[in-house]
C-alpha cells in the first residue's frame, strides 16, 4: 500500500475530539463507567487505546474508574476518565486523593441537567462549582470549559499538559451540545502538538524526596517501579511522603499546593477576546454558550451596538485579571449560563466597581440560542 499522509480532516463530535486530543497528548489509560452524554468517550477509547499500546478498562462504577486512573498515573501512565453529573459526584472522593497526592490526570464531565439523574442528555452547565469545590477539603484545581469540537481536541491537549506540568487533576467541562454536535475539523499533525510530560527525578534514589517542592512548588514524580521506592498517601504528608500532623509541615504543604497553581496563573488562565477593543457592553460566557455569544455579539455589532465578548476557557482558578479588565472597560456585562448563575457569582466576586452585571439563565434543558442572547444584549 502506498504511504499516504494521514487524513486529519474529520467529521466528528465533541466527545470523539476529546479522545483524539487525549491520545495526541500521550494519554494511554482510560478507566470509567458509561453514562450519557459522555459514553462515546469510553467507547472510542476502548477501540483506540489498544491500537496504541494503551489500556482501557470499564470499571464497576465511577469511584472505581477514578481510583484506577490515579493508580495508573502513579505508575507513570497519562490517564483519563470521562463522566457526566451523577458520575462526577461519585468521582469526587478519589479526585480529592489526586489533589492531595498531586497525581496528574484528566477528568471530563459532559454536563447534563440535574441534580440527581436530572435531565439525561440535555445540555446544562450545572456542575461548574462542583468542579471547583466538589471534593472535600481546601485545595486548588484547574477547570477548563470547551465550546466546540476543535476546542474539545485542543483543550484536552492543554488539560493534559497543565496536569503534568503542575501535578494536579484537570477537569474539562463539556456539555451535551458540544459533546454530540458533529463538525468538520482539521486535526493538527501528530508531530506539531506540544506535549508536556511530568518531571521525573534525576537524583539517586536515596536522595529523592517525593514531595519536596522546587522553585515552582511542583515536586519531581517517580513512577512506581522506577527504582524510587516511596510512599504515597491521602493523608497530609511531609516531604518524604509520610503522614504528618506537625502544624508547620501541614501549613507548608497546604500552602505549596496553592502556590504551585497561583504561580502558574500566566499559563493556566486562558480566555478568548472578541471585539473588546472598543466595547461598551460585553458578554462573559463559556462552554457552548461561548459560541452562541460569538454569534450574538456579531448580531449586535451589525446593529451598531459596541458589544464584545470574553470567552472563558479557564474557569478555575478564576481568570480574575482578564475579567476585571472587561468590567473596568464596560458599563454593563451579561453573563449567560445554562444554570442559575454559577460563574456570575464569580464575576460579582471579582467586580471592582459599578459595572452592571446582568444574568441570563436558561434551565429548561435547552441551549441558549443567539437570538435570545442578542435580545438581552440590546437591553444592556
Amino acid at each position: 500500500m502506498k504511504n499516504r499522509p494521514e487524513i486529519r480532516r474529520r467529521l466528528i463530535q465533541g466527545n470523539e475530539a476529546i479522545v483524539e486530543g487525549a491520545l495526541a497528548a500521550g494519554c494511554r489509560f482510560f478507566a470509567g463507567y458509561p453514562i450519557t452524554p459522555a459514553s462515546e468517550i469510553g467507547e472510542l477509547m476502548a477501540t483506540r487505546l489498544p491500537e496504541v499500546d494503551g489500556t482501557f478498562i470499564q470499571m464497576e462504577d465511577e469511584i472505581a474508574g477514578m481510583g484506577a486512573v490515579v493508580g495508573a498515573s502513579l505508575a507513570g501512565v497519562k490517564s483519563l476518565t470521562a463522566t457526566s453529573g451523577p458520575g462526577f459526584s461519585l468521582i469526587q472522593e478519589n479526585l480529592g486523593f489526586a489533589c492531595i497526592a498531586e497525581v496528574p490526570c484528566v477528568v471530563v464531565n459532559v454536563m447534563r441537567g440535574g441534580p440527581s439523574t436530572g435531565l439525561p442528555t440535555c445540555p446544562a452547565q450545572g456542575d461548574v462549582l462542583q468542579a471547583r469545590w466538589g471534593t472535600h477539603g481546601d485545595h486548588p484545581i484547574i477547570v477548563l470549559a470547551v465550546s466546540s469540537v476543535i476546542d474539545s481536541f485542543n483543550i484536552t491537549v492543554i488539560a493534559f499538559n497543565l496536569s503534568e506540568k503542575y501535578r494536579v487533576p484537570v477537569i474539562i467541562l463539556s456539555d451535551e451540545t458540544v459533546a454530540h454536535t458533529r463538525e468538520s475539523v482539521v486535526l493538527p499533525p501528530a508531530g506539531s502538538i506540544a506535549v508536556v510530560d511530568r518531571i521525573i527525578p534525576t537524583v539517586p534514589p536515596e536522595w529523592y524526596h517525593p514531595y519536596e517542592g522546587n522553585s515552582r512548588g511542583v515536586p519531581a514524580m517517580a513512577p512506581f517501579g522506577s527504582g524510587y521506592r516511596h510512599h504515597v498517601t491521602g493523608l497530609v504528608h511531609d516531604r518524604h511522603g509520610y503522614p504528618t500532623q506537625q502544624p508547620e509541615e501541614v501549613d507548608a504543604f497546604t500552602r505549596r499546593l496553592h502556590r504551585k497553581i497561583s504561580n502558574g496563573f500566566h499559563d493556566i488562565h486562558i480566555v478568548r477576546r472578541l471585539h473588546l477593543e472598543d466595547a461598551e457592553v460585553a458578554v462573559i460566557a463559556y462552554g457552548s454558550v461561548g459560541r452562541t455569544a460569538q454569534r450574538a455579539v456579531a448580531m449586535a455589532r451589525n446593529k451598531g451596538i459596541k458589544a464584545g465578548l470574553i470567552q472563558l476557557i479557564t474557569l478555575f482558578p478564576f481568570p480574575k485579571e482578564a475579567v476585571v479588565n472587561v468590567l473596568r472597560q464596560c458599563r454593563a456585562v451579561l453573563v449567560p449560563e445554562m444554570n442559575m448563575g454559577q460563574i456570575s457569582r464569580e464575576v460579582r466576586r471579582v467586580s471592582p466597581g459599578d459595572t452592571k452585571i446582568h444574568k441570563l439563565n436558561r434551565v429548561d434543558g435547552l441551549p441558549i440560542d443567539p437570538d435570545q442572547l442578542f435580545k438581552e444584549l440590546q437591553l444592556l
Binding site: A64, G67, A72, F224, S226, H231, T233, G234
Partner: protein, 273 residues
Amino acid sequence: MSTIRQEYLRHDKKFPHVWCPGCGNGIVLGAMLRAIHRLELAKDEIVLVSGIGCSGRMPVYVDFNTLHTTHGRALTFATGIKLARPALTVLAVMGDGDATAIGGNHFIHAARRNLNFTAIIINNQIYGMTGGQYSPTTPYGARAATAKHGHIEHAFSIAELAVTAGASFVARGTVYHAAQLDTLIEKAISRTGFSVVEIMSNCHVQFGRRNKMADPVTMLKWFRDRAVRTQDAVDLHPDSLSDKFTIGVLADVEKPSYIAEYEKIRIRAKKKK
C-alpha cells in the same frame, strides 16, 4: 527474621507503629514479608496498596513502592497500577470493613475480572481504628460499639464470597496458624490471576473487650479452637462446622487472566488498524 526486618522495613521513619500491643497485624506483616523473601522478589518490583483503617497503615512501614488510598478503594488503585505496569507485583492489604463494606462492590468485581494481583484481607470482625463499630463480618449476636444490645445482622464469609465471585486463588488462614500463613501468602502471590487471602486476626481491644476476649491470647485460642483445616472439613458433618471456619486453600483454578486477555486485544486491534 532479623535479616528480613533489616531488609524490608523502613527504619528511618514512622516507628514505633500505631498498632495496639498484641495486634494480629504484626503477624500478618511478618508473614507477608517472609513470603516475599521466599519468592525472592525485588523491592522495586513490589507495590503494596492499602485502604483505610489499621491495616491501612501497613504500607508506610515497608520499603516497597507503597500507596495508602481512600477507604474501600485499594483494589481500584491496584487495578490501575497493575494495568499500567503489568510487570509489577501488586499486593492490596485491607481490613474486613474496608474490603467488604465500602469496598464490597470493588471486591466482587476484582474477583470476577481476574486481574493478576493479590488481596490480603485482615478480618478482625470489627472496625478497629474507628472505635469498634460492627463490620460485615461481625458475628451474629456479638457486641460492638454500634451493637450494644447484640448484633442482629449476619456475617459475610469473605473467602467464600471470593470463591463465588470467581477469584482464581482463595485461601483463609489465622494469625494463630502463623507458619501456614507464610505459605498461603506465598502461594497467592505466585498465582496468575486474582488471589485472595483472608486472615482471621485478633482485635482484642475493640472486638475482644466487648465479647469476653479482652486479651490477645484468649482471641488466638478462639481461632485455634474454631479453625478446621480444609482437608479435615470434608469428613465432618456440616452441623459440627456451624461455629467453625475452614483454613487452607479454598480455591485454586486456572482461568484466563485480564492481563493476558488484554494483550490479545492489543494484537487484534493493531491488526485491524
